[in-house]
């Protein structure tokens, strides 16, 4: 009888270990996903991010050191929609961690439940460039998508760590309120503004703010800008009254500088999330939209 009680007690302790104050190990592929997990998970999660925020998330090296971040994870959060397909699968396989395999409980794909833009039509193939096969994966830039993902994340965290339910729900409520405010402040705030992108990174932001992205410095996805293609953008900039060019930090400024020298159109880098968790997702999203408005309205050089 005594032995049985001790065994049951031990079993209970093991199962409840997460809710007994041991944080959940969560590994996120990108810095913005990591930031959302931190904001909602609070002190009940310990977050590691695989892709440095200054790096192009399409071209991360599957370095062996990243396997160490996956080995002990209870939950793997990915963007999905093919964004990490070029580097994540061998890392997950080598981690030998049964919790985070694609079919396991500890695997969460943010793209699930998001209405993706630019789902390729039948007949799309690589002659169109390195098109994302499931739709545009750069969706974590609008309050609506961030809310949808936040909700899925809460459900997953509660599933893995039931004892933290009150914390997760409470954090989510505050998170959602901040996102609602961003929605109110910035939805439709750039109606009709014409912009240029480098890669298709800002489509969701454009739909949300009402801006129009008139063209891209990349002739096709994954192909670097060519002089011929850049020249073809010059009339577009003039005729559409493009207000500014938006770049990610890892994209070469040489091409944007060429267009600026020819037409005067400014180029700006939209800030990227720091992977160390020093800014919350919502505060960073808000400041990003503020900067976008300032760039598009010519208020910031």
């Amino acid at each position: 009888m005594l032995h049985f009680s001790i065994r049951m007690a031990l079993l209970f302790v093991c199962c409840a270990s997460f809710s007994l104050g041991k944080p959940l190990n969560v590994t996120a592929t990108t810095a913005e996903l990591g930031a959302i997990v931190r904001e909602i998970g609070g002190s009940d999660v310990k977050v590691e991010v695989l892709a440095p925020s200054q790096s192009d998330p399409h071209f991360i090296d599957a370095k062996p050191s990243l396997i160490l971040h996956l080995r002990k994870a209870h939950l793997l959060v990915t963007g999905g929609a093919g964004l990490e397909d070029a580097w994540l699968p061998p890392l997950v396989l080598k981690s030998r961690n049964k919790n985070i395999q694609k079919s396991a409980r500890g695997y969460l794909e943010a793209a699930d439940g998001i209405g993706l833009l630019e789902i390729p039509e039948a007949g799309t193939d690589r002659s169109h460039g390195d098109v994302h096969p499931y739709g545009n994966p750069h969706f974590m830039t609008t309050p609506e998508n961030a809310k949808i993902f936040g909700r899925s994340l809460v459900d997953k965290l509660v599933d893995l760590s039931p004892g933290g339910q009150k914390t997760f729900e409470g954090n989510y409520k505050a998170y959602a309120e901040k996102l609602d405010q961003i929605q109110k402040d910035f939805e439709g705030s750039l109606q009709g503004a014409s912009l240029l992108g480098f890669h298709k990174s800002y489509e969701y932001m454009a739909v949300f703010t009402g801006a129009d992205i008139e063209g891209y410095l990349e002739p096709k996805p994954g192909i670097p800008p060519s002089p011929a293609h850049l020249s073809s953008l010059l009339p577009v900039i003039k005729n559409k009254g493009v207000r500014c060019i938006l770049l990610q930090p890892y994209q070469r400024e040489k091409s944007a500088k060429f267009l600026k020298d020819k037409t005067g159109v400014p180029y700006h880098y939209l800030s990227i999330f720091p992977e160390d968790g020093s800014r919350s997702f919502t505060s960073f999203l808000e400041s990003n939209y503020k900067r976008l408005l300032q760039y598009a309205n010519g208020e910031k050089k």
């Binding site: 090296d61 370095k63 070029a86 580097w87 061998p90």
Partner: protein
């Protein structure tokens, strides 16, 4: 209503296709070759060997999840040699996805994961041809056989993996063991029935006597130890060592021992554009001790060191230095002291195609003239190929 039903059925059908069909991809690797001498010194099965146009490798890959426990994949290759089409099973194996304690089993027919060159498929090579020392010790087709291996990710604060495996060691893909030898030039045959003619002479000029697998003693055994460290967010280093042993065909119970060491360094800045710029430096050294008479060994050794510099988006420049030598035993074209220097430049129009120009300077100890080889290589890929390992 009918349209709605049709759309639902179609949508369900498309999903079903993705559920059942494996990821399929095909890569085609071709080249034009020219040599300054009468003979080529490229003995690799997938090297550009003929003056003129070559089909180096056409590889069909299928991969998919088998069930919650296993992944399966297969690589089927064809090439054309002297007008004859050859079909080969390159690899077909399963891998476990989530065994406890950091363990992983890989089994089936596979390239021995020794060093960092042997297991790389020709379309992913950094140079158009196989390194000299790998050709000599692992054979023109690489060391690949049926078997099983167990890998262990050691619970350390850095990457540390230990792998142990065993494979069948007969046939032309086990030249250092019981298999067909690389004893004479042109000895690499794709099952054209000429094995009997060459059965007499093997590596080092010693006669082939034994070929039977009677039990575990005649299998090949492999042990690998590998570490990796990030020296900085932009520099990663990988160090590995291998030991392979198995009986060879020179006599009953005669052993071959192979020692291999590899060093890999990659620099790629955190802020990179399409993965450029980068520098990769890879060095591997091998030593084979081959027992030909009781307790009498002949040795073959060599190294290859190559640097690739991706200097601007889509362009990579490469430089490779190699040396191969031997101690004791007969000397011939396949077994002489050789040094080779190669440079190449590769253009990748996209991630799915490449064009490469390469020039080899081949220096053989007993020849005063340097042999020049020039290759123009082309590769294309279609379908969904899995991500390459680091």
């Amino acid at each position: 209503m009918r349209i709605y039903l049709l759309v639902t059925l179609l949508a369900g059908g498309l999903q079903a296709k993705e559920f059942f069909n494996p990821k399929i991809s095909l890569s085609g690797l071709f080249s034009i070759a020219q040599f300054s001498g009468d003979e080529t010194l490229n003995f690799g099965a997938h090297d550009p060997k003929s003056v003129g146009f070559n089909v180096q490798n056409v590889e069909l890959t299928l991969a998919h999840a088998v069930d919650p426990y296993l992944l399966g994949e297969a690589h089927l290759i064809t090439l054309v040699e002297d007008g004859e089409t050859i079909f080969e099973l390159e690899e077909a194996f399963f891998q476990t996805t989530a065994l406890p304690l950091g363990l992983q089993v890989l089994g089936g027919h596979y390239f021995t994961r020794a060093g960092r060159f042997n297991a790389v498929h020709p379309h992913a090579w950094s140079f158009a041809d196989q390194p000299i020392i790998h050709n000599r010790i692992y054979g023109g087709d690489g060391l690949r056989n049926p078997g099983v291996q167990l890998g262990w990710l050691v619970p350390a604060p850095f990457f540390w993996e230990i792998t142990a495996g065993s494979q069948q060691a007969t046939g032309e893909t086990a030249v250092s063991f019981l298999g067909d030898e690389g004893g004479a030039p042109g000895a690499h045959h794709h099952g054209d029935g000429d094995e009997e003619e060459h059965a007499g002479e093997g590596i080092g000029g010693y006669p082939i006597l034994e070929r039977e697998v009677e039990g575990p003693r005649e299998l090949m055994y492999h042990l690998r130890n590998a570490f990796s460290f990030d020296l900085s967010p932009s520099v990663t280093v990988l160090l590995g060592g291998d030991y392979l042993t198995g009986t060879n065909n020179k006599g009953d119970g005669f052993q071959t021992h192979i020692f291999s060491g590899d060093f890999f360094l990659k620099w790629k800045p955190v802020k990179n554009s399409l993965g450029y710029p980068f520098v990769k430096w890879q060095t591997e050294a091998l030593w084979r001790k081959y027992e030909v008479l009781p307790d009498f060994y002949i040795d073959d050794f060599g190294y290859v060191s190559q640097v690739e510099y991706g200097f601007i988006e889509r362009w990579v420049a490469g430089l490779r230095g190699e040396f191969a030598g031997f101690l004791r035993g007969e000397e011939n074209l396949l077994r002489e002291e050789r040094a080779r220097l190669s440079w190449n430049i590769t253009f990748y129009p996209s991630e799915f195609s490449k064009i490469r120009l390469q020039h080899n300077f081949d220096s053989r100890l007993h020849e005063s003239e340097t042999l020049h080889s020039v290759f123009l290589q082309m590769e294309f890929n279609i379908g969904s190929h899995g991500a390459h390992t680091f």
